[in-house]
């Protein structure tokens, strides 16, 4: 049975629909991210799961029991969940040990048992030596670890994280991503993680829910999302991409500057606008005409940028109007204005809506 089920959940604030018709099932032990730009409804969804806000429509169930519906919600304190907040919400009037032990104390555990568990979890997050400190004496990263320990020590049914890394500096953020995933692998707690940072979501998650304007755009594993985006929004939001518009012409599809047989690209027989996403990494760039199986398109370099880890080229197919973005290894150097060949694998072109 699914651990957590959201069925057609909506949330309105006056005339504004913050979340619309949101459905999601989480398996036990699964790590799912809600990813989207600010204002897409991801935090609202998380707060509905936590019980801080009732849904305007739809229901939420945990272990088959309804915990939220428009007619009433089980209050947060009775959901046996825990949550990590954007501000960490470490209580400054309590020491690290008292912060972490709070949830156990509320659960009326014995002093000795609380001590034992607090010590154990502080070992896991490498904070044992700071048990007696007050939060004001801790760095941001250390506070983050306390927040993690405090949330995990109660062995929650579901762990909720609300942009937990947004207040950390870049290096620490990268480190904590792996830390969060490591803790998940160790404790196997069903987790919902809210973020606007795609790489955070990709490192940590089993599946990612991409949200936009209160609606779900796509739910998939990270590599599927990247490789097979279903909508223009997802393709543009996750990584960089080229959008190519095609028109059907007999048995061919004609793009800006090149043509391919309709049978070679996916979905070309369907109706409607033919819009394709083509990742810059999926395009080859060579000085001579390529001999591989892909389409060879003659082009001119119109712009370039060196980013250390790769070159970011803009190459305009001869006879086309719009340049295509191509990423190459840092060793592949072409001057602006030089003639090159693009190698496009039609199978790498993903049709999006």
């Amino acid at each position: 049975m699914s651990k957590l089920v959201l069925k057609n959940v909506s949330r309105r604030y006056g005339a504004v629909e913050a979340v619309a018709d949101f459905s999601l099932e989480l398996q036990k032990g699964e790590f799912v991210s809600l990813l989207g730009p600010s204002g897409c409804g991801k935090t609202t969804t998380l707060r509905m799961i936590a019980g801080f806000a009732p849904p305007s429509a739809g229901t939420i169930e945990m272990d088959g029991q309804q915990i939220s519906s428009p007619s009433g919600v089980v209050p947060p304190e009775r959901r046996r969940m825990s949550m990590i907040f954007q501000s960490y919400a470490i209580w400054p009037n309590m020491t690290v040990g008292q912060n972490v032990g709070f949830g156990l104390q509320v659960r009326k555990m014995s002093r000795a048992e609380i001590d034992r568990r607090v010590d154990a979890i502080l070992d896991v997050v490498q904070m044992r030596s700071l048990k007696g400190r007050y939060p004001s004496e801790l760095s941001g990263g250390q506070q983050q670890r306390v927040a993690l320990a405090r949330a995990i020590v109660v062995e929650p049914e579901v762990l909720l994280l609300d942009e937990p890394l947004s207040n950390l500096d870049a290096n620490l953020r990268e480190e904590m991503r792996f830390e969060i995933r490591r803790l998940h692998d160790e404790f196997k707690i069903t987790t919902v993680y809210v973020t606007h940072d795609q790489s955070e979501a990709m490192v940590t998650s089993d599946r990612i829910v991409v949200m936009n304007k209160g609606r779900i755009e796509q739910i998939d594993a990270p590599h599927v999302l990247y490789g097979r985006p279903r909508s223009r929004f997802v393709a543009g939001f996750i990584g960089r991409t080229n959008f190519l518009e095609g028109t059907r012409n007999g048995s061919d599809v004609r793009f800006d500057g090149f043509t391919t047989p309709a049978s070679a690209v996916e979905g070309a027989s369907g109706t409607g606008e033919l819009l394709y996403s083509l990742r810059p990494q999926a395009v080859g760039l060579t000085g001579q005409k390529p001999t591989g199986p892909g389409l060879a398109v003659e082009a001119e370099i119109t712009d370039r940028a060196y980013l250390g880890e790769y070159w970011d080229y803009q190459a305009r197919p001869l006879g086309g109007a719009k340049a295509i973005r191509v990423s190459t290894a840092p060793t592949q150097i072409f001057e602006v204005g030089s003639h090159v060949w693009l190698e496009i694998d039609p199978a790498a072109m993903v049709r999006v809506e």
Binding site: Q66, S87, N93, V106
Partner: protein, 576 residues
């Protein structure tokens, strides 16, 4: 660990939608607020339209209240008094504020301290001291003048309109000082530098940049001073009545004399209430206007302006003002409190501790009145802090619909002068079945109501600084809202709440204008005791009692400064 997942019937939500136990508490707090604020106000208005005894609708109270020329004169006297006192207070306060906030004047810390000393001197204590100083014949200033010039009589007469204006201005100028320094401290040196670099000199910069930025605050302070002056009861009662003129508050007091004509008093209180409401609205509009210094915020460092030799002139002016408000009054209060007869002056054989002994141990009610003051003030401060914390919590967390109305009710007493509030309380709770007149309870309720605004401003500022996620973290870990309040909110707000408590407690121990209408034989408070002694002319006992009250305040002030910083009284009063 799954909770009995066998009973998987989605329709039955076991504990969903149930009432949180804390809801009971919210309901109680709201009910208390209705009792404290709404009902006295409603009764005030109703009573003004009711005939005595029968309670029938009538307009005759208004006819009586405004039916005589001298009643009308009292209204105009009040307006003139307010305007005069506010302007004079501005003359005292504005140079001091500028000197302290923006210049290298020496003794800036000392000046602040002396303003604080002025601020915590009750107006009636100041008035008494000035009767000692400027009484027509025996006043010390007159005697000194006669001694020096050899003239027949001294020029000073406290028992005059001018005398009253001076005394009130001297003890209300801290309001303007507080407002103005707060605004000046927000004008960054960079703004002045910008004017300098475009060619403006120090004075032009001050005139064109600094002062305009502080002007709304200055006007706000003047308005508060004006309102303070027209609402004051004690000083006019001690000075205007002997000088044979009346102001609104003393006239109200006479309507309350034998027999009590509360209906007429209620009708007569309306202009005072109306003017206050109107001016508070104006003050809020002025200070909330865009371009006011507080809105430009924290920007940049501030360097003091170098005054050169003029800094000693500034210092001299500050000390002159302080002499009038602190040094001279306290010197002669101490002299009088230690004298067998104050008029006999400073000779050694005139010194005695008898007055203190008498006030503390022999007088039938004096010691008890001090205890009463502290008990009632303590109860009122505690009640006001708890109620306003509750309301501020309801408002900031939006626990009930229309929560803003509750917040408004909490600050509403700010626009009700103490005298008017007391009449409302009398009208609401003196008649049977409650018959609370003269009880400790009615005094505590009135004090609580009077100081709700201070409590609310502080409580809501404290709560706004508290991230709601702090509480949500408690709840998500299994603690109820009450646990969150007890374990997290209360400990985190401890300091601010202590500050709010002191800010209410200290003025509540001196509160006279509402107490004078509500006390009974067993519930006399120190301020009323002092007022009675002044009517009897017992200035030696009175000075002793007033000084005892002041000395008892000092430890509280010390605690407040330790907990919240040196200028907590001044800084926080500005927020109200």
């Amino acid at each position: 660990m799954a909770e009995s997942s066998t009973e998987a019937s989605p329709a039955a939500i076991p504990r969903a939608g149930r009432w949180d136990s804390s809801w009971l508490l919210w309901a109680a707090i709201i009910a208390i607020l209705l009792i404290l604020v709404v009902s006295p106000f409603v009764y005030l208005v109703l009573t003004s339209f009711q005939a005595e005894r029968t309670g029938d609708f009538t307009l005759s109270n208004y006819a009586t209240a405004y039916g005589r020329a001298r009643y009308i004169d009292a209204l105009f006297n009040s307006l003139q008094l307010g305007a005069g006192a506010a302007l004079l207070a501005g003359v005292f306060a504005i140079p001091l504020a500028w000197g302290v906030a923006r210049t290298d004047m020496p003794g800036r810390g000392l000046t602040r301290m002396l303003v604080l000393a002025t601020f915590i001197t009750p107006p009636y204590t100041g008035a008494v001291a000035w009767i000692l100083l400027a009484g027509p014949n025996a006043g010390w200033l007159n005697r000194f003048y006669i001694l020096v010039t050899g003239a027949e009589a001294g020029p000073f007469n406290i028992y005059s309109f001018t005398g009253l204006v001076v005394v009130i201005a001297l003890y209300s100028f801290p309001y303007i000082f507080i407002f103005t320094t707060a605004a000046l401290e927000l004008v960054s040196s960079e703004m002045e530098d910008a004017a300098n670099i475009l060619g403006a000199g120090t004075w032009r910069t001050m005139r064109r940049v600094t002062l305009p930025l502080a002007l709304p605050a200055i006007l706000g302070g003047l308005i508060i001073c004006f309102l303070e002056a027209i609402a004051l009861f004690a000083s006019p009662a001690m000075i205007a009545i002997p000088a044979r003129f009346n102001v609104v508050t003393t006239q109200l007091y006479q309507f309350f004399g034998n027999p009590v004509r509360v209906e007429v008093a209620a009708a007569y209180a309306m202009p005072l209430l109306g003017v206050t409401v109107l001016l508070i609205v104006v003050q809020r509009l002025i200070t909330s206007r865009k371009g006011f210094a507080t809105l430009t915020g924290k920007g940049g460092e501030r360097r003091p302006i170098h005054l050169g030799p003029w800094r000693w002139a500034m210092f001299g002016y500050a000390m002159l003002v302080a002499s009038l408000s602190v040094f001279l009054p306290y010197i002669f209060l101490v002299q009088s409190s230690l004298a067998k007869a104050w008029g006999r002056g400073f000779s050694l054989d005139n010194i005695t501790l008898r007055n203190f002994n008498f006030v503390l141990f022999e007088h039938a009610t004096a010691a008890k009145s001090v205890i009463n003051s502290f008990l009632y003030a303590g109860a009122a401060a505690t009640a006001a802090v708890l109620i306003t914390l509750g309301i501020a919590y309801i408002v900031t967390r939006r626990l009930v619909p229309f929560a803003e109305v509750l917040g408004f009710l909490c600050v509403a007493p700010f626009v009700i002068p103490g005298v008017v509030l007391a009449i409302g309380f009398y009208a609401a709770y003196a008649p049977p079945p409650l018959s609370l007149y003269g009880t400790a309870l009615i005094l505590i309720l009135a004090f609580t109501t009077r100081f709700l605004p201070i409590g609310y401003v502080n409580a809501s500022a404290a709560l706004r600084s508290l991230n709601p996620e702090m509480e949500e973290a408690v709840r998500v870990l299994g603690g109820s809202r009450m646990v969150a309040l007890r374990r997290v909110v209360a400990p985190l707000l401890k300091r601010s709440l202590l500050g709010a408590w002191l800010l209410i407690f200290i003025p509540a121990t001196r509160e006279l204008s509402s107490a004078i209408f509500l006390y009974g034989p067993n519930t006399k408070v120190a301020s009323v005791m002092i007022f009675d002694m002044s009517e009897e002319g017992n200035f030696e006992y009175l000075s002793a009692l007033a000084l005892i009250l002041q000395v008892l305040t000092l430890p509280l002030l010390y605690i407040g400064q330790r907990a919240l910083g040196r200028d907590f009284m001044l800084r926080r009063a500005a927020a109200t």
